[in-house]
C-alpha cells in the first residue's frame, strides 16, 4: 500500500530531518547575525517593536474630499504617503513610518513626542502652487549659526548679503543668481519663438524696471513687483520668531535659513496672498516669491515624455507637459504673459513651483502661454522629469486630511505592557508545560522541547522580518504569539492521542507512532490550513492592529507545521526506538497497561504487543 510506504521514506531518516531543522535554525540566526554586522541599516538581535510598545505618537489621517465629486484613487493615496513621508523626514524625525491603512487612510507613526508644528504639518493639504520670483540669493549657512536672537542678525546680516542694503534691493540681488547651476533651471518652451516675445518686452520691462525706484513705498502693482520686498512681513513670520515686528520681506529674505525646518514649516503655512521666502531643494538658493498666482489643483494633468522640437522631432531631452483647467489657464496665461515680458531680468522672468514650503523648480519664461497647455524643458533626465511631473500631478492633492485617531503612548506604558505581556506568556507556557507533563508524563517533555523550538523559530523570524520587512511587534502581535502556544500545543495533543489510540489498539509503539502519525498528519494539516486561512483573510482585509495580530497568528501556524513535521515527529520516531519508550515504561506516557491495551484483541495475526511480551516475561515464558 502506498500509504504504508510513505512513512518509511520520511521516517527512515529521522536524524537527517532533525539535522536539517537544526541547520535551518542556525541559518536563521546566522542571517540575523549577518544583518547586525553587514546590513545597510544595521539589523538587531531583538524584534522591532511597534509604537504601542515603544511609545510615541500614532496618527491616522483620513482624506477630506472637497465637493464629493472627486473620487480618491490609490495612486493619489500612495502619492500622499510619499509627500507626508517627505514632510516627516524633512522635520528630522528619525524612524518615522508612514503607511497606508485600507484604501484611503494613512497612518503616521512617530517615535517619541513630536512637536506641535510637525503634527500640524502632517494633516495640512499638500498645496502646490505657482508664485512669481521677485528676487533670489544664495543661502549662506555660516551667517546664521546657532543662538543669535532674531533682532541681532537683522542688524548685522544685511551687509553680509551681497550689497542688498538699499531699499531698491532687487536689482542687486538679481545680479547674483547662480540659478543655471542648480536645479532651478527649467525653461518654458525652450528654444523658440524668441522673435515673438521681443515686441512686448521693451514696453513691459521698461515699466517693470522702473517700478522698484518709484514703488518703494507704494503698493505692489502685480505679483512680480519688487515693491513687495518693502512690504511688512506677514504676522506668521514675527510669531515664528524668524524676524522682528516691522521687518520687510527684504529682511526676511536675508534672515531666512534654508536648513531650518521650523522656518520651512512657517513658509509652507504663509498666507497665499502675501509674498513668501523659500529655498530650493538643494538648500543652496533662497527666493523671494510673490503671492500665489496659480494653484496646483488647477493642473488637470502632468506627464513627462521625450522632448520634441517644433517639428515634432525628438531632441533627446525630457519634457514635462502640463494641462490646466479653465481657471488655471487664465491665471497661468496672465502670469506667463507678465513674466515673458521680463526676459531681461533673470530673476523676475522666473516662476517658482512650490510645495511644502520649498521651491521645486524655478522656471524661466520665454513666451506667454495662454492655451492652458505648457511644456517645461531643460536639463531633465527621464527620471527627474517623471518625478516633477508626479509632483505636479499629485503634489497638490485635491484633499486635505483630518485626523481620525491621534494617540500618544508613553514609552513607560509600552514597556509596562510588554513586560506584563511577556510575563503572561511565560506563565501560560509554564502552565501548558505542567499540564502536558501531567497528562503525558515524560512524553510531555517532547511537547516542551517542541514549544522551545517553536519559540526559537518565532523569535528568529519576527526579528528577521523586522529587519527585512520592517515588521513591528505590537501588543496585538504579542497576544497572537501567546495565543499561538495553544495552537502549537494542540498539534502535539492530536498527534499523541492518535499514537495512544494505536497503542490502545495493541500496536507496539514503533508502529503505533507511524500509523498514528499517518492519521494525525492529515488532521494537523487541515486544521492548520483552516487556521492559516483565517489569519490570511484577517490579514488581507483588516487594518492596523488586526493585521499585526493576524500576521503573527499566521506565522506561528506555519511554524507549527514545520516544527511538528521536522521536530516532533522525527524525535518521537527516535524515542520510540529507545527502551524507555519502546517498552512502554510506566512514565513514558505510552504505557499500554495504563492505556488499557489488553493485548489480545486488535493486534492482528502474528503480532505480539508490548503488553503480551511483558505478560510473557512476567510469566517466565519467552
Amino acid at each position: 500500500m502506498a500509504t504504508r510506504n510513505r512513512p518509511s521514506r520520511t521516517n527512515g531518516h529521522p536524524k537527517a530531518v532533525l539535522l536539517t531543522l537544526v541547520a535551518l535554525i542556525v541559518a536563521l540566526f546566522a542571517g540575523i547575525g549577518a544583518t547586525t554586522v553587514l546590513g545597510d541599516a544595521k539589523g538587531q538581535w531583538t524584534p522591532k517593536l511597534g509604537l504601542d510598545l515603544e511609545g510615541g505618537r500614532q496618527i491616522t489621517l483620513e482624506p477630506v474630499i472637497g465637493e464629493g465629486s472627486q473620487k480618491i484613487n490609490s495612486g493619489q493615496v500612495e502619492r500622499a504617503v510619499d509627500i507626508i513621508r517627505k514632510r516627516v523626514d524633512g522635520t528630522g524625525v528619525s524612524e518615522a513610518e508612514v503607511t497606508t491603512l485600507g484604501e484611503r487612510n494613512i497612518v503616521v507613526s512617530l517615535p517619541g513626542e513630536p512637536s506641535k508644528e510637525i503634527l500640524n504639518s502632517l494633516s495640512r493639504s499638500s498645496a502646490l502652487s505657482f508664485r512669481a520670483v521677485i528676487a533670489s540669493t544664495r543661502n549662506e549657512p555660516p551667517t546664521r549659526t546657532l543662538p543669535q536672537p532674531p533682532s541681532v542678525p537683522k542688524a548685522t546680516a544685511s551687509p553680509s548679503a551681497s550689497g542688498s542694503t538699499s531699499p531698491s534691493a532687487s536689482p542687486t540681488v538679481s545680479s547674483a543668481p547662480s540659478s543655471s547651476s542648480t536645479g532651478a533651471n527649467g525653461v518654458y518652451p525652450q528654444a523658440f519663438p524668441a522673435a515673438a516675445t521681443p515686441t512686448p518686452t521693451p514696453s513691459m520691462t521698461a515699466g517693470a524696471t522702473q517700478s522698484p525706484t518709484t514703488a518703494t513705498a507704494n503698493k505692489p502693482k502685480n505679483p512680480s513687483d519688487p515693491a513687495w520686498a518693502q512690504q511688512p512681513v506677514s504676522a506668521v513670520w514675527v510669531k515664528g520668531g524668524v524676524v522682528d515686528q516691522g521687518s520687510t520681506y527684504q529682511d526676511l529674505l536675508q534672515e531666512y535659513s534654508c536648513t531650518d525646518n521650523e522656518t520651512r514649516l512657517i513658509a509652507s503655512n504663509a498666507p497665499a496672498g502675501q509674498p513668501v521666502v523659500m529655498c530650493d531643494q538643494t538648500q543652496q538658493n533662497k527666493f523671494l516669491l510673490g503671492p500665489v498666482e496659480v494653484k496646483g489643483d488647477s493642473i488637470t494633468d502632468a506627464t513627462s515624455g521625450p522632448e520634441t522640437n517644433q517639428q515634432g522631432v525628438q531632441t533627446g531631452g525630457t519634457q514635462i507637459n502640463l494641462k490646466f483647467n479653465d481657471a488655471g489657464k487664465k491665471a497661468f496665461g496672465a502670469m506667463t504673459t507678465r513674466l515673458a515680458a521680463l526676459q531681461s531680468d533673470a530673476d523676475r522672468n522666473r516662476s517658482a513651483i512650490i510645495v511644502d514650503g520649498q521651491v521645486l523648480e524655478a522656471l524661466g519664461t520665454r513666451e506667454p502661454i495662454t492655451n492652458g497647455e505648457a511644456q517645461i524643458t531643460g536639463g531633465f533626465t527621464p527620471a527627474s522629469g517623471k518625478l516633477l511631473a508626479d509632483e505636479l500631478k499629485f503634489g497638490a492633492l485635491p484633499f486635505s486630511f483630518t485626523q481620525l485617531t491621534n494617540d500618544q503612548i508613553s514609552p513607560q506604558l509600552g514597556q509596562d505592557q510588554l513586560q506584563k505581556g511577556l510575563l503572561a506568556g511565560a506563565v501560560g507556557m509554564l502552565l501548558v508545560v505542567l499540564y502536558s507533563l501531567f497528562q503525558y508524563r515524560v512524553l510531555g517533555l517532547v511537547t516542551v522541547a517542541s514549544l522551545v523550538i517553536s519559540a526559537l523559530f518565532t523569535y528568529g523570524l519576527v526579528t528577521f522580518l523586522g529587519y527585512a520587512n520592517n515588521f513591528r511587534l505590537t501588543m496585538a502581535g504579542v497576544t497572537g504569539l501567546i495565543v499561538a502556544i495553544g495552537v502549537t500545543a494542540d498539534s502535539f495533543i492530536v498527534y499523541f492521542e492518535r499514537v495512544r489510540d494505536e497503542v490502545r489498539s495493541g500496536r507496539p509503539l514503533r508502529s503505533a507512532v507511524e500509523t498514528g502519525w499517518q492519521r494525525a498528519r492529515r488532521t494537523i494539516i487541515i486544521s492548520d490550513v483552516v487556521n492559516f486561512l483565517a489569519s490570511a483573510v484577517l490579514y488581507i482585509l483588516s487594518e492596523a492592529n488586526v493585521k499585526a495580530f493576524a500576521f503573527t497568528l499566521g506565522l506561528t501556524t506555519l511554524i507549527d507545521i514545520v516544527v511538528v513535521m521536522m521536530f516532533t515527529h522525527p524525535l518521537l520516531t527516535l524515542l520510540a526506538r529507545t527502551k524507555f519508550f519502546g517498552s512502554g515504561h510506566k512514565w513514558s506516557g505510552f504505557d499500554p497497561d495504563r492505556l488499557g491495551a489488553k493485548g489480545v484483541t486488535y493486534a492482528g495475526r502474528g503480532r505480539v504487543t508490548i503488553a503480551d511480551r511483558r505478560r510473557a516475561a512476567a510469566g517466565g515464558q519467552i
Binding site: V427, L431, I493, T523
Partner: protein, 386 residues
Amino acid sequence: MASFAQFGNDLYTGRRQINFIGRRKLWYGITAVLLLIAALGLFGRGLNLSLEFSGGAELKVRGVTNTQNFDTRAQDAVHQATGTEDNLIVTKLGDRDIRIQTEKLGNGTAAATEEVRGALAKEFGVPAAQIDSQFIGPSWGETVTRKAVQALLWFLALLSVVLALYFRTWKMALAAIVAVIHDLFFTVGIYALTGFEVSPATMIGFLTILGYSIYDTVVVFDKVRENTHEAFVTGQRNYDQAANYAVNQTLVRSINTTVVALLPIGAILVVGFTMLGPGTLLDLSLSLFIGIAVGAYSSIFIATPLLADLRRGEPAIKELAARAKAYQTSQRAALTEADTPRATPGESASGVVEPERAAAAAAARATRTKKRETHPLARLDRDRDR
C-alpha cells in the same frame, strides 16, 4: 490522573460512551435557550462599545502622587483648557493613575486633546510624557467595524469552500459553519449581557474565535469521517453511531486541547485584570477565553449532531442504517445466546461492542453458522463479503 486516562481508554474502546447524537434534542434545547438569552442581551441591552467606536478622547495620567480630589481637579483643568463644559468621566485606575474619558473634548479635534494634555500635566504635576492621550475621530469605529464584517463574510465563504472540498460533502461544511456562527453569536451575546466593553481588540478576538472554533470542529469531523468511512465498509454501525463514537474518541483530545488553549489565555486574563487594566491584552484575551470555551462546546454538542441530522435523509445513510441494524440484531441475538455479560452503554449509542463481548459473540456465531444460512438477513452479510 489515572482515572482520566482510564476515562479516555473507556471512551476509546467504547466501554463508556456519552450519547451525544442520541440526546441531540436535549443539546439543541439547551443551546436554543442559551442563544435566546444571548439574543435578548444583544438586542435588548446592546453592546457596550468602547470609545474607539463612538469617537472621543481618552487621557491617562500616570504616576500621580497626589490623587486627592482627583475628579474635580481633572474636571477643572480640562474645562479651563477647553473653555467648554464637556461631560467627563474621570476614574482612578489602580493607585496612581487617572483616566479621563469623554465623547467630545473642546471642539472635538486632536489639537484640543493636546491642550488638555498640557493642562493635566500641570495640574497633577507630572511631565507631559507621562500622559497618554488618545483621540478618535467619529468615523474610525465605523471603518473598523466595516472591515471586520467584511473579513467575517469572506472568511465564512472561503471556509465553506475549503471544508466542502476537504470533506467532499457540503453538509459537513454547513454544520461547521453553523457551529461557528453559534460561537460568535453566543460570545457576542455574553458581551452584551455582562456589559464588558467591546473594543477593536475585542473584535480581533471575535474574529480569531472563528479560526479556533473551526479548527476544533475540523478535528472532530476528521475522526467522524474516518469512522463513518469504516462503517460504510463494514456495515456494523449506522451513521449516527459512527459519528457518536468519533466524538467520544476525540473527547479526551478536545478537553486537552481546550485546556491547553485556555491556560495561556487565562494567564493573560489574570495578568491583565490584576496588573494592566483595560487594554489590548485584556480585551483580546477575554473574548478569546469565552469564544474558545464556547467553541469546544459547539464542536461536540452542536456540529456533529447537526451533521448527523443533515445526512439522515440520504439514501446511502438509510441503507447503511438498515445494514447496521441487521448486523446488530443478529449480533445481539448471538450475544444473548452466548450469555455474555451485560451490554455496555456504548453498544446502542455508538455501536461499539467491548472486545470481550465481541469475541464471545464471534464464538457464538461460529457455532450457529448453519442456522444463519436460513436467516433472511444472512444474505446481506454474504453480499458484503463478496
